[in-house]
C-alpha cells in the first residue's frame, strides 16, 4: 500500500443505547479501492458517515492526510458521497445537480456549467443535461449522482451501497463504470456494501465488519481463500466449516477429529497439541466428488440431497454421516461425467493442503 490518505486510529462510535463501531483502526491508501462489507447493522455505514463528518466519533481519531478530522464540519471537508437513495435534488435538472458542489465553492456560473457538462458527457449522459432528474432512469440517475460527487475533483469518493436499487444487469455495468473511473482518476474509493460480489469484483482490499468490529481485512482472494474466522467463512459463503479436536500433530500436518470423520489439515503455524479444539474450512469449489472411493486422505462418503444450478457451475448439497451438510461446487460439464442418478453414494475428497485452518499464519 502507498502512503495512507486516511487513518482510522481506534475510532469508536457509541450511541445512547448501543455501540455502532467499537474502537477500530485501519488505513486507507491513496488511490486505493477499498470496500467495507458486512451484514446490516455491522457499523459499515456509520464508519463511512464518520469519514464524511455526518457522525462525530466518540473516541479515537480520524486523520485525513495527517490532519485530525474529528470536529471538522461536513461542508468543510472534501469527502463527497454517493448515497444509497442517491439524494439527487428533485427541484434541479441533471446539470444543475452536478453544478451544486461548484456553486457552493463560489465557482462562476459559465465555468461550472462547462465542467458539469464535461462530466455528464464523460459518464455518457450529456444529452440528458437539461432533463429533470425524476424523468431519468435508475442507471442515468446513478451517473448524475456520480458526476455530482466527482465534479469538484476530490481525493476520495465515498459510496454508500450505491447500486442496491439497480437491476442485476445494470449493477454489473455500473461496476465496470466505477472500476474504470477509479483507475482513470487515480483517486481513493471507499465503497460500503452488503454484497460480496460487488465488493470482491471491484475492490483492491476488503474490510469485513461484524457487530461494530473488523472481522477481517485483506485482498479479496485472501479473504475468500483464507477466512480468519467462522463469521467471515460463513459470510463469504460456499464454504464447508469443520469444528473438531486435534488428535495427532506432525511438523507438516495436523489430524483433526470431527463429527463426520478424521481429517488431515496443514499445520497452522502456531503451537497445537492433541486435544486442542481446531476449526478449518474447505471452500466448496476445492472439493472433488466421484462415484469411486479415491485413494486419498480426507474422504467423506455421502449422499446427494439437492443440486443448485448457477449457470456454468452447480452447487451440490451432500449429506455426510451424522446429517452434516457438505457443499461442493463443480462445473456443469464435470457434473455430466458423474453418474448421480438414483441417490447413489458419492465420495467427496480434498487434499490436506486445500483446507484452511482459522487463525493460521504464513500461508494462504
Amino acid at each position: 500500500m502507498t502512503k495512507p490518505l486516511v487513518v482510522f486510529d481506534k475510532v469508536e462510535k457509541r450511541f445512547a443505547e448501543f455501540t455502532a463501531v467499537k474502537p477500530t483502526s485501519f488505513e486507507i491508501g491513496a488511490g486505493e479501492f477499498l470496500a467495507i462489507m458486512g451484514p446490516s447493522g455491522c457499523g459499515k455505514t456509520t464508519t463511512l458517515r464518520m469519514l464524511a463528518g455526518l457522525e462525530a466519533p466518540t473516541g479515537g481519531e480520524i486523520r485525513f492526510e495527517g490532519r485530525v478530522m474529528n470536529h471538522v464540519k461536513p461542508h468543510e471537508r472534501d469527502t463527497p458521497m454517493v448515497w444509497q437513495s442517491l439524494a439527487l435534488f428533485p427541484f434541479l435538472n441533471a446539470r444543475e445537480n452536478v453544478e451544486f458542489g461548484l456553486k457552493m465553492r463560489g465557482v462562476a456560473a459559465p465555468v461550472r456549467r462547462k465542467k458539469a457538462l464535461e462530466w455528464l458527457d464523460r459518464l455518457g449522459i450529456g444529452q440528458f443535461a437539461e432533463r429533470n432528474v425524476a424523468k431519468l432512469s435508475g442507471g442515468q440517475r446513478q451517473r448524475v449522482a456520480l458526476a455530482r460527487s466527482l465534479v469538484t475533483e476530490p481525493k476520495i469518493l465515498l459510496l454508500d451501497e450505491p447500486l442496491s436499487a439497480l437491476d442485476a444487469h445494470l449493477v454489473i455495468r455500473m461496476q465496470s463504470v466505477l472500476t474504470k473511473l477509479q483507475k482513470e482518476l487515480g483517486i481513493t474509493f471507499v465503497y460500503v456494501t452488503h454484497s460480496q460480489s460487488e465488493a470482491f469484483a471491484m475492490a483492491d482490499r476488503v474490510i469485513i465488519m461484524a457487530q461494530g468490529e473488523i472481522a477481517q481485512i485483506g485482498k479479496s482472494k485472501d479473504i475468500y481463500r483464507s477466512p480468519s474466522n467462522k463469521f467471515v467463512a460463513e459470510f463469504v459463503g460456499r464454504n464447508n466449516i469443520f469444528e473438531g479436536k486435534v488428535v495427532h500433530v506432525s511438523p507438516e500436518v495436523v489430524k483433526v477429529e470431527t463429527p463426520i470423520g478424521q481429517f488431515a489439515v496443514p499445520h497452522p503455524g502456531r503451537a497445537v497439541k492433541a486435544g486442542d479444539p481446531l476449526s478449518f474450512v474447505v471452500a466448496a469449489d476445492l472439493v472433488q466428488v466421484g462415484t469411486e472411493r479415491p485413494a486419498a486422505d480426507n474422504v467423506v462418503e455421502c449422499q446427494i440431497i439437492s443440486e443448485q444450478f448457477m449457470g456454468t457451475t452447480v452447487t451440490l448439497f451432500l449429506e455426510a454421516p451424522g446429517g452434516e451438510e457438505l457443499k461442493v461446487q463443480i462445473g456443469q460439464r464435470e457434473l455430466e461425467q458423474i453418474d448421480i442418478a438414483g441417490g447413489k453414494r458419492l465420495f467427496a475428497s480434498w487434499p490436506a493442503a486445500r483446507a484452511h485452518v482459522f487463525g493460521a499464519k504464513g500461508h494462504a
Binding site: T79, W83, A87, K103, M104
Partner: protein, 266 residues
C-alpha cells in the same frame, strides 16, 4: 346492476351535498346582479347598481384595504412561523417534542369567541388593542398552525439524505436551507401563504373583537346587515367569495401537484 345503482345513488348524494353548500352562495351571486331591493322571485332586471354603490362607499373601500393589509401580513408571518415549527419538527429530536407539537397545533381547537376575548384582553394589557397590528397578531395565531400543517406534510416527503447531501457537497447549514430546504418546500410555502391569507380574509369573530375602528370586510358586512337588508351585501359577498376561492384553489392545486409528483417518483 346493484353496483351501478350504488354508484348512481352515491353520485346523486354527492351532488345533493354540493347543491346544499353552494345554493346560498349562488343565490347571493344572482341577487347581487338583481335590480329588486329585496331578494325575491321572479327576478327583476340585470344591474351593476349594487356594485357601484359598494365602490362608492369609503368605509367599505377602507375595510377592503385593511383586510388586504391584514391578510398579506398574516400570510407572511404565519407562514414564516409555520415553516420554522415544521422544520424544527422535521430536523430535531428533543425532550418535550410532542408537547411542543401539541402546543403548536392548539389554536384552531379553541372556540373562536374564547380566542377573541382572550386576544382582546391580552392585547389591551400590552396597549395594542384596536389597531391593525392587533388584528394581524390575532390572525397570525390562528393561521400559523395551518401553515405548519401544510409545510410539515411536504417536509415529511423529503429524503433525510437530501440536506446531508448538500452539506457533503460544501453547503453550510444556512446555505442548505436556502439551496435545498426552501426550494424543496416551495409549493407548500406558497400554498400556506394562500391558505393563511384566506383564513385571515374570511375571519370575523376575532376581527370583530380586536379591530376597533380598523374594520375588516366581514366586520363591515355585519354592520351593514344590522342596519337593514341591502343587496350591497350580495355584491360584497360575491367579491369576498371569489377572492377566498381563488386563494384556496391555488393552494389546493399546489398541494395536489405535490401528491402527484410523489406518486410518480414512488
Amino acid at each position: 346492476m346493484t353496483d351501478r345503482l350504488i354508484k348512481v345513488s352515491l353520485l346523486a348524494y354527492l351532488a345533493l351535498v354540493f347543491v346544499f353548500i353552494f345554493t346560498p352562495i349562488v343565490a347571493s351571486l344572482v341577487f347581487s346582479f338583481n335590480s329588486d331591493r329585496f331578494p325575491s322571485l321572479p327576478l327583476g332586471s340585470f344591474t351593476l347598481h349594487w356594485y357601484e354603490t359598494v365602490l362608492s362607499r369609503p368605509e367599505i373601500l377602507e375595510a377592503a384595504k385593511t383586510s388586504l393589509i391584514v391578510a398579506v401580513s398574516t400570510a407572511i408571518l404565519s407562514t414564516f412561523i409555520g415553516f420554522c415549527t415544521a422544520y424544527t419538527d422535521y430536523r430535531f429530536n428533543f425532550v418535550g417534542k410532542s408537547a411542543f407539537l401539541a402546543l403548536a397545533l392548539l389554536p384552531p381547537t379553541i372556540p373562536l369567541i374564547i380566542m377573541a376575548l382572550a386576544m382582546l384582553s391580552w392585547l389591551a394589557q400590552i396597549g395594542l388593542s384596536g389597531k391593525v397590528s392587533s388584528i394581524i397578531i390575532s390572525h397570525t395565531v390562528l393561521g400559523a398552525p395551518f401553515a405548519m400543517a401544510v409545510i410539515r406534510l411536504r417536509l415529511n416527503d423529503m429524503d433525510p439524505s437530501l440536506e446531508a447531501a448538500s452539506w457533503n457537497l460544501g453547503a453550510s447549514e444556512w446555505r442548505s436551507m436556502w439551496e435545498v430546504v426552501i426550494p424543496f418546500t416551495k409549493p407548500s410555502i406558497i400554498a400556506a401563504l394562500c391558505l393563511t391569507a384566506a383564513v385571515s380574509f374570511d375571519e370575523f369573530a376575532v376581527a370583530w373583537f380586536v379591530s376597533g375602528l380598523n374594520k375588516t370586510v366581514p366586520v363591515v358586512i355585519l354592520e351593514i346587515l344590522q342596519g337593514n337588508v341591502d343587496p350591497q351585501i350580495n355584491a360584497i359577498g360575491t367579491f369576498v367569495f371569489f377572492i377566498s376561492m381563488t386563494l384556496i384553489i391555488i393552494a389546493q392545486a399546489l398541494l395536489m401537484s405535490q401528491g402527484r409528483k410523489k406518486d410518480a417518483s414512488a
